[in-house]
Amino acid sequence: MTFRKYLVLGGVTVFSAVGDCLLARGMREVGGISLFHPAAVILAVLNPWVGMGILLLLAFFAAYVTALSWADLTYVLPATSLGYVLLAIIARFFLHEQVTTTRWLGIVLISAGVGFVASGPALTHHPRAESGECAGSAVSTRAEP
């Protein structure tokens, strides 16, 4: 794992948490939308908070697929679950929501889970790579013993 790759994983974490928060902030302004008036969802994009949230979630998706190109799914998902922790912190300090003891306990469990995968290898080494030219070089950089 290089510094750049940690940066991409950080991007997945931060973009998803901040994107969700911006969406939540915007949708509070927009108000409730009925399932029977789907056009209102399209108009919600015009809200600047919602618009920014969608941009950040697109950035999240780009970082997510990039991470999946050189790390296992079972590595990327727990490693980026710190986003939930970030979300709780943002909710506590910027959206002024209550964070209860149980929630802090949840945060501790998630962080412990992240610690478990972070200490292991990022990619399973397959002797016969599924694709030819490109995957070969990617796999060999982080092979398991």
Partner: protein, 126 residues
């Protein structure tokens, strides 16, 4: 009856989002290291290579299905039950699916990670 619908929605979300994650992960393993590919062939090549992979479109379709199941689920049950239950179970389902379909080596460390994160996400909702 309503809670049965809500749990049905949770099952649909977990199945669909796991399918989406597995398909997109498979796509990206076939494409190879995006950073390397970008340096050698340019961004356009990376994007077209990803988009031309049929697994990618199927994955996006599955994720869209998961999103709409979430919307329907939210109309049948509480957001504080549906969203965390689905997110939490998806972590465990992904670990199982990655082992079976992607042949990832899910060792005890990764099982513990999936279970801890799933439990943590569930607690966040309480």
């Amino acid at each position: 009856m309503k809670s049965l619908y809500a749990w049905g929605a949770v099952a649909a979300i977990v199945l669909a989002s796991t399918t989406g994650d597995v398909l997109i992960s498979r796509t990206m393993k076939q494409v190879g290291d995006v950073g390397d590919l970008w340096r050698r062939r340019g961004l356009l090549h990376v994007v077209s290579r990803v988009l031309r992979n049929p697994n990618f479109s199927l994955g996006i379709l599955a994720m869209a299905f998961a999103f709409y199941s979430l919307l329907f689920g939210l109309s049948w049950g509480d957001v504080s039950l549906i969203a965390p239950a689905a997110a939490s179970l998806t972590f465990v389902a992904n670990a199982v699916a990655a082992k079976i379909f992607l042949h990832e080596r899910v060792d005890h460390r990764r099982w513990m990670a999936a279970l801890f994160v799933a439990a943590g996400v569930a607690l966040l909702a309480v």
